[in-house]
Each structure stands twice: as C-alpha cells, then as structure tokens.
C-alpha cells in the first residue's frame, strides 16, 4: 500500500510536537510542574485494553452524552482557572512523544480529561477552552480537539484497530484523502476478520450496525473525508447484499473481495489518470507545471510523465502551516524532475512562466466546485487571471452529491496553535489565548468555484467539472 507509506513518512506534526516540548523543558524546571500535572489527572497510565471490547458500560443516550460533555467543559474551565492562579504555569512535559495506544485511559471517571499521547498538559487544557470561546460566524464548524479523549466515551464495541486508526488520524500520521481511505479499508477488513455474528442475529444487519459504530468513532477523531464516506457506503451495500442463508465464512470472503477490489480500483484509478493525462498530451515537452502542496496522485502523475520521457519543469507552491510542499519537492527532485519551490505569496510573480496548473482534490462537489487543501483556490484564481489552464486530477470515488458554494458552510479546523508557531523564532502571538478578541482559524480545506477550473481528469477520461452529476449517475447504474 504505497499511499499509506507516503503519508506515514511525512507528518510535520510528528516532528514539531516533541521538539516543542523539549524546548520548553529547558526553560522550566521540570520538578515544579510534574506534581501539579499528576494532581490534575490521576488516572493517566492505564492501558488501552481497558477501553476495548468486553469491558463495561452500555451505550449511552444522546442526552447522557451531552451532559457528560458539559461536565467535561466545566472541568476544563476549572482547570484553566487553577493554572492561571499558580505561578509556574506554562509547562509541557511530554516524555513519551508518540506511542499510540499504550497510554490510553479508561472511562472510569467521566469528568477527567484524557490525553492520547501521554502526558496531560495545562497548555492543552487552555487551548481547548479557548477554542470554545469562538462565537458567531464559525460556530457551526466542528472544533479542533487535539487532546480530548477519544476513548473516554468509547463504546465497548469499538475495535482496537479502529481505535489505533482514529489516533493515527488525529495525530496526522495518516493524512491525505487517498491514504486515509486506503487505511480505513484495511482496518475495516481487520474488523470484519475478528467479527462473529451473535446468536439469533443476522450477519448483514448486525455487522453493518457494528461497523457504523466504529465509523462514528472515527468521525469523532477527525471528520470523515468524502472518499471514506463513499468507500463505507460501498461496503455497506456489499453487506446488505449478503443473503441471510449464506455461511459466515463465505460472507466474510465476499466482503474481503469487496474491500480488496475497492482498494484496487483506487490505485488503478490513479494509474489511469496518469495515462489519460500523458496520452492526451496534456503534459507536453517544455511545459512549466505549477503544483500546490502535496498530493500523492499529482506526484505519481508527474513521475510517470517524467518516466515517459517528457521534459518539463515543476514549480511547487507551498503554504503555511503544514508546508506539505516540501515533501512534494523532495520526492520530485529525488525522481530527477527539475523543480523550483516558492511560497503561495509569490505565486502571482511566477504565474507568468507557468503553462499549466495541476491540482489534487479532496472532493468534487455536485455543482462542479472542487474541495481541496486550503490555498488551492487562491492558486486557481491567480492562474485564471493569467489565463493559465487549471487541471484538477481526481478519482471518481471522491465525487459527491453534496453541494457547497463557499468554504465556510462545512470545513474542518486544524490546530490553531500551528498558525502562530513560525520556525524556531520566539513568536509574538504566544499569548494569543489571553487575547479575548482574537480568534485563530486554521481551515484545512477550501472550495474552488467551477469557473476557475478548466478540466477535471478522472479515470473515466477528461470532463469539465460541471459533469460531476453525470458521472455520479453513471456510477450508480
């Protein structure tokens, strides 16, 4: 599964977090902070197994869950007040930066906050309550909750593999729509492997409710991508198609086949897109191609074109805070492609030289709008104003019936702290949480209007982006 490795090896977050921790440790005597921490979260070091199937409580009603959440918020507020009072406040003691699943917590004390990757820190408590201060315009967007417990409310039916996957999503170890979807399919397969139908129940019904619960859990860790939702829909329709008299083993084999073929279709779609692009001469000799941030599909397309002997150069445009373009650059240069690297603020300066813009996509909406990594729509806008064609590469499994005309209706929020963290320099906004009138919004996606996009290349061929509904209709038949 190449896509999976792709993203596993690039996780800017993973390098930032521990180093930040270390830096702070130098300035703060550790001894002061540790007891305080322990006081806050007494039940930290229990094992993941406690939360996994077999143990404990029955599923809760919505009202109960809501009550619990409120209680949690209050506890956080109290914790924040406490940290403000004490003199030795800003501390972070992450000794074990990223060991998943080892230090997870039980659901015993509902009011206690639980951390995913080890040490509970006052910083995190503050950050969450600050985000909750957010009002008005963006209140509907799911807030970023990095260190809120995933396992706290976890239903005992959640499979350990799903727990692990959820944590990987949260930490950004697996990111990128394709990688996330492939990882999901692999994990669902594991879940089905260990599943056995309870007595007096039907496989097709019980399994899909079981999987649904697991998916809900994943949605808590990070909002599901369109590709994941589509993949799960496909799997569900496979499950529903199983006749009730079929033996469990056979049914499982069918489902494995279903999952594997879906996986295969995603990988093959990428290859077909590269072929479509190259055979139709959309990448020609002498082209200067602009790409934005990282997309495994675009990387493959460019490498493939290079292998076919096309001579072109690439301008990698990058944007903060994730700076994923650096990974793109590294891989393209490693492959021997001539590259330059700029930040998005310089995009209009180089656009004169560019002959084509290639963009990846998170999803294609039914009105032809493209949802993609934040910044893409800016690149497309500049390209349009310089009359440079914008080509979007997207597998059809990412097409959706959803319609959205701007980026605010639904979007995902990332860690606001990463916006103020610039390099190793001391940053001027380190106390942004204390500024009552300041809100930091780290949007993950944006939506590009269809008139900025010249064409969409799918595995079915090249289509204008207004043809999304037709492709959806054909795929349904």
């Amino acid at each position: 599964m190449p896509g999976n490795q792709d993203s596993a090896s690039r996780s800017p977050l993973s390098q930032q977090t521990p180093s930040r921790g270390r830096r702070k440790q130098k300035s703060n005597p550790r001894g002061q902070s540790t007891p305080q921490l322990q006081g806050q979260t007494p039940q930290q070091n229990q094992n993941i197994k406690n939360a996994s199937p077999g143990e404990g409580d029955t599923p809760k009603t919505k009202a109960q869950l809501r009550a619990e959440r409120r209680a949690l918020q209050e506890a956080q507020r109290a914790a924040k007040a406490a940290t403000k009072q004490s003199p030795s406040t800003p501390v972070s003691t992450k000794k074990t930066p990223r060991k998943f699943g080892l230090q997870m917590q039980d659901t015993a004390d509902k009011h206690d906050k639980v951390s995913i990757s080890g040490g509970e820190t006052p910083r995190n408590v503050t950050s969450i309550s600050t985000i909750q201060r957010r009002t008005g315009f963006f209140a509907h967007l799911p807030r970023y909750q990095h260190n809120v417990s995933l396992t706290k409310d976890a239903n005992p039916k959640i499979h350990p593999a799903i727990l692990k996957l959820g944590l990987q999503y949260v930490e950004g170890v697996i990111c990128g729509s394709n990688a996330r979807c492939l990882a999901l399919l692999g994990t669902l397969k594991q879940v089905i492997e260990t599943y056995s139908t309870p007595k007096q129940k039907e496989l097709s019904r019980d399994l899909s409710t079981n999987l649904k619960k697991n998916m809900d859990f994943l949605a808590q860790s990070r909002p599901l991508s369109v590709g994941m939702i589509n993949a799960f829909k496909h799997l569900k329709s496979c499950i529903n198609g199983i006749p009730r008299e079929k033996a469990e083993d056979e049914a499982k084999q069918d489902l494995y086949g279903c999952i594997d073929s879906y996986k295969q279709s995603i990988l093959l779609a990428g290859k077909a897109i590269a072929k479509n692009l190259i055979e139709n001469d959309k990448i020609t000799d002498g082209d200067t191609i602009m790409v934005y941030a990282f997309s495994s599909l675009i990387k493959n397309v460019l490498c493939e074109a290079h292998d076919k002997g096309k001579t072109f150069s690439v301008i990698v445009v990058d944007g903060r805070p994730k700076l994923e373009g650096r990974e793109m650059l590294r891989r393209l240069v490693k492959h021997g492609i001539k590259c330059s690297y700029i930040l998005i603020s310089a995009a209009s300066y180089v656009m004169r030289e560019v002959t084509k813009v290639l963009l990846g996509a998170h999803a294609l909406l039914a009105n032809g709008y493209v949802m993609s990594r934040v910044g893409s729509s800016q690149v497309a806008l500049i390209a349009r104003s310089y009359n440079v064609p914008v080509l979007v590469c997207c597998e059809t499994y990412k097409f959706t019936e959803k319609v959205q005309t701007d980026s605010f209706v639904s979007n995902e929020l990332g860690d606001p702290n990463s916006l103020v963290q610039i390099g190793k320099k001391e940053n001027y906004l380190s106390n942004w949480k204390e500024q009552k009138s300041l809100h930091l919004m780290n949007f993950i996606y944006d939506v590009t209007p269809s008139d900025l996009i010249s064409m969409v290349i799918t595995e079915l061929g090249m289509v204008p982006c207004t043809s999304v509904p037709v492709v959806l209709r054909i795929k349904q038949v």
């Binding site: 959309k282 084509k356 079915l460 061929g461 090249m462 289509v463 204008p464 043809s467 037709v470 054909i474």
Partner: protein
Amino acid sequence: MNETDTLEYFETILKNDPEKSEAVAAIETLFHYIKLDDAETLHGFMENIQKASKWLEESDLSGAVTSISSGCQLFLRFITLAKDPENMESDIQKCKGILVKRGHDFLDKVKTLRKKISKLANPFITDGSTILVHSHSRVVLQVLKQAMQDKKRFTVYVTESNPDKSGHKMVNKLTDVGIPAILVLDSAMGYIMEKIDFVMVGAEGVMESGGIVNKIGTFTMAVCAKYLNKPVYVLAESFKFARLFPLSQEDVPNKFKYKASKLNDKVDLTKEHPNVDYTPPSLLTLLFTDLGILTPSAVSDELIKLYL
C-alpha cells in the same frame, strides 16, 4: 478496396451532392467499404475499417477533418456498440450482415438530423431579427432557408471568411432563395456586432468541454459577441461530437488545424495559417443539436453517455 478507390468513392459522393456534409460522405464511404470488405476474421475486419477511416481523415479532399474524424469514430462506435450474443459468435458473414444493417440505420438517421435542428432553432429566429453568420455552413443555411419558408423577415450579415472566401458562397446561396444577405469584411466583425441580434455559426467539431472547433475567425467573433452581450448559437449534428478536450488553441491537434499535405511535407507550421480555431464553452450561449438544445456543459454529459 484500396486507398485510391476509397478516396475516389468519397470524392464522387461529395461531387454528386454538394449539400452533403463531409462527415456524412465519409460515413457513407466507410459503409460502402464495409460491404465490400473481404476480411476473414472480425479482428482483421475492424483493423481494415480503422485503416479506411484513417485514409479519409488524412485525405486533402475536404477541409473538415474534425467532423470526418468524429463522424467515423461515432459510426464505428454505433455499429459495434451493442453485441448481439446470439449472432456475433456464429460466423463473420452473419456478423457483417448485422453491422451493415446497423450502418444502414445510422445513415438513415443521419439524413434527418438537419431537419430536426432547424425545427429546434426556428423559434429563435424572430421577425425583424438581424443575424451574423460566419463562413459557409450547410446547417446554418438550412435553418435560415426554413425560416424564410415560414415567411419570417430577417437580415443576414455574412463574413467574408478568408482565406478560402467561403462567405461569398454563403451570400450567393442566401440571395438565391431570397434572403437579404450582406457580405462584410472579417475585420469588420467588431463593427457590425452592435447591429445584430445574435450570432449563428456551424461547427466542425464539438469538443468534450462544450466548446467548438470551427472555421478560423469563430473565436474572434465569439469574443466580440461576448463583449457586446450578444448570444452565440451553434448548430451542429451530434456526429460532430468528438472526445477531445483542448485547453487552448495550441492544444488543438495539428491534423485539424492544417491540411494533411502540409503536415506530410513538414513545412514550417509557424508560418502556416491554421484553418480552424477553438472557441471555449464560456463564449457560447446554446448548442442546437439533434439531441435537443444543449448548454455547453450538457455536451460532455451526452458524450459521457455515448462513450462510457
């Protein structure tokens, strides 16, 4: 049938019936070729047909390479699309019989297309309207004639349409049937634009983007029309739909832009005049086809249905 025979047959069709579009003539030639072909296997048969359609595309006999190529492709697609499992397996003669029958159906259908289009476009030509047309187009001519027969009064401006001055031919044909037609210079497009109500052009090929490839100057005309907010109507039969998606003028294949003889002679193409240009969908208002009146974005929908 070898290359010269095929091309001769093609030429005689065009000569006998100048009203026939090149694509239809090409399809008829292919049909004739299928009937005479003596291939032993289905595979060889398909190869022969592909070869024949290539001859037609590369011939210098007509300017409309785009429509010939899309017409031949669609014809082949149509006759081979649905496999008839009972008959297909048995033997090549029976199989060919089916193909010939389907080809016959296709040709019959093709002949009625222009009538359908003129019926659709007729209400858009209102009494007292002034129309700008570009170059010589048989579909446009038929639509205008039909409107004349319906006793509508309208004036037509026709561009001269260099380099082949096909606008002259158009004006003559229009005045013959009593439609007031005025010839204008190509460079007077912008000047005349404010006087007219809408632009009506044919198309050599309708691209997957919903844009069209047509006689050089169409793009200029569409840009002028856009600036003055005049609607641009395109009349095209559905066999002109092609699976191509040009991003710019540069991106249109050379075989459409230049004559085959020029390409074979390896002349310096930068000094050659292209015969066609590409008009992007954002400049077009509506396309009148036998499938109905389509917006440019609906074209790709139809193409996806056809080819997927």
